[in-house]
């Protein structure tokens, strides 16, 4: 398929691969433990030049994110499908590779006079990192609130990175829709980093190439779930094919419609979906509980997941009530994940220890 056709609607049909792998993250179950990020880091980004790469990262929302203020950077497509200009986030925006004065503090006898302090790769005091604003969130006491928000490459149906690459070094696999950078073909021009509105592509300055999440392709091809999903202690990362009617992805995205794409307005048709966070009620100025007003403002969630948030949350609340009343709820059972790993990534249950 020509790169300017992928994901675009031509003669009334969206040109997309035969199948599409997708993930659903249940934000109500994310602990913010970063085990996903560490699992990914251990597996894929330990080489020189990858020091500050976090192909998957967990941010606190409301917050400025990784890279810092990425939602204000542009990129993606407008309503007419035209690519929107953007910029390349800096190392400092992403959060740099820190060096600490461990030697001085721990072994240099200066532990009393000095304290442990990081320096970025320019030797300066850092101004940002992936979790700089962790647990800060938004709102005023007693209505302060936050939730954890894992992010990674969305393996978009209409990838802005792929269309922006002048060398056709980015491709989308026909068999599963995974978007990959061909490292042999990439020349490190970084137009992909500019065009991606989610800013999930990193630059490897040692190899002079762009790198990003590969959906743990070597694992997927052996029936093993991606490292981030397999290692998730909260069991909140569902993985599967969007068209698998018996799988959790299809059920959560298409049947129950409780899993929503992030910033659909960016026009890239992302394939990572989020079950929006429920929140406790607000407390009014008189100290009384305001049951009709959720602590996390609906407008805020709508700014991330669009107008369908309200309905998704209502569905979850309704099904939760059923369960509470002792009734059956297929949706609640799916979100709870009684049988792991079968219920969370049914096509990728092989144990990586047996590879």
């Amino acid at each position: 398929m020509n790169k300017v056709e992928i994901g675009r609607e031509i003669d009334g049909v969206v040109r997309k691969p035969k199948r599409q792998l997708a993930m659903v993250f249940d934000l109500n179950k994310c602990l913010g433990c970063h085990t996903c990020s560490i699992a990914c880091k251990q597996q894929w980004t330990r080489e020189e030049g990858q020091e500050n790469m976090w192909w998957t990262v967990v941010n606190t929302l409301p917050g400025r994110g990784t890279p810092r203020d990425w939602e204000d950077m542009g990129g993606g497509f407008d309503a007419q499908g035209r690519q929107l200009p953007s910029l390349i986030p800096t190392r400092e925006d992403f959060g740099d590779d820190f060096e600490f004065n461990k030697e001085e503090v721990f072994n240099g006898g200066k532990g009393v006079q000095n304290y442990l302090q990081p320096k970025n790769s320019r030797g300066e005091k850092p101004s940002w990192s992936p979790n700089w604003d962790e647990d800060q969130g938004g709102g005023e006491y007693p209505n302060s609130h936050f939730f954890y928000f894992p992010r990674l490459c969305n393996h978009c149906t209409h990838p802005a990175c792929l269309e922006a690459c002048p060398r056709n070094a980015i491709y989308k696999r026909e068999e599963d829709g995974v978007v990959l950078v061909n490292e042999n073909h990439c020349k490190g021009y970084r137009f992909c980093m500019e065009a991606c509105p989610y800013k999930r592509i990193y630059y490897n300055h040692v190899r002079d190439i762009s790198q990003k999440c590969i959906f743990c392709l070597p694992r997927i091809e052996k029936g093993v779930a991606p490292a981030c999903a397999r290692q998730c202690p909260g069991r909140m990362r569902f993985v599967g094919y969007l068209d698998d009617k018996d799988g959790p992805i299809h059920k959560l995205v298409n049947e129950w419609q409780v899993a929503l794409p992030l910033h659909e307005e960016y026009g890239t048709q992302p394939n990572v979906y989020y079950v929006p966070p429920m929140s406790p009620p607000s407390i009014g100025p008189d100290g009384k509980v305001e049951h009709s007003k959720p602590r996390i403002p609906l407008e805020y969630l709508e700014s991330l997941f669009g107008p369908r948030v309200k309905e998704a949350l209502a569905t979850i609340e309704r099904e939760k009530a059923r369960k509470r009343n002792g009734e059956e709820s297929e949706l609640m059972d799916a979100l709870i994940v009684y049988k792991w790993p079968d219920d969370i990534f049914p096509d990728f249950v092989a144990d990586p220890a047996n590879l």
Partner: protein, 216 residues
Amino acid sequence: MRVAQLDTAAQAFGDPAADIWSGITANKVSLVPAPVAMQTSRYVMSKWRDGQFGKVSSVGVQVLHNGEELAIRLEWENPQANLQRFENNDFPDGAAILFPLTRHAPLFMGAPGEPVDIWHWRADRPDTAHGNLATGIGTSSMVNEDAAVTRSLYRQGRWAVVYRRALSVQTPAAQTVQFTLGKPVKMAFAVWDGGNAERGGLKAFSPQWLEVTPQS
């Protein structure tokens, strides 16, 4: 352009500041920005549609040979030297010489079945020019890390780069240019201003061939 044979050791002309170059005629070759319409990325076409790139308007080209090696010296104006490639938005300055490998290979990066050989020097790896083969815009592929020995010098707002290579090399003729005494060779040039985030198709290039004949 005819290039007379000099009776000089190669070391004498490998340095862009070497005295010998002051006696060699410099051809001023005009450059223009690579056309926006020929960019192979809609993103690039959209973001750079105002054509704010490829502003280096000419490159001085000097050529000499000593019967064994041929040297090409390029000199152009670039207000600031960009040597780094560490920060995500660092782009080093660069220059390239393009040679057709078939009689009708187009100057625009070749065409299918009509390959071109491109010697690409960049300020972040200043000692060799990478040898690239291309058969169309967006297809260049590095085939040789040491296509030519390069030495560069940045002085008073100008880059000077000397490319040096044996007249003929063992590499199959289909993969690289060969220089034969008395036989004209066509070449074209491109320059990237890294300070303006120029890379790939964002460059200034010479829209006409320069024909060079090394003579005995």
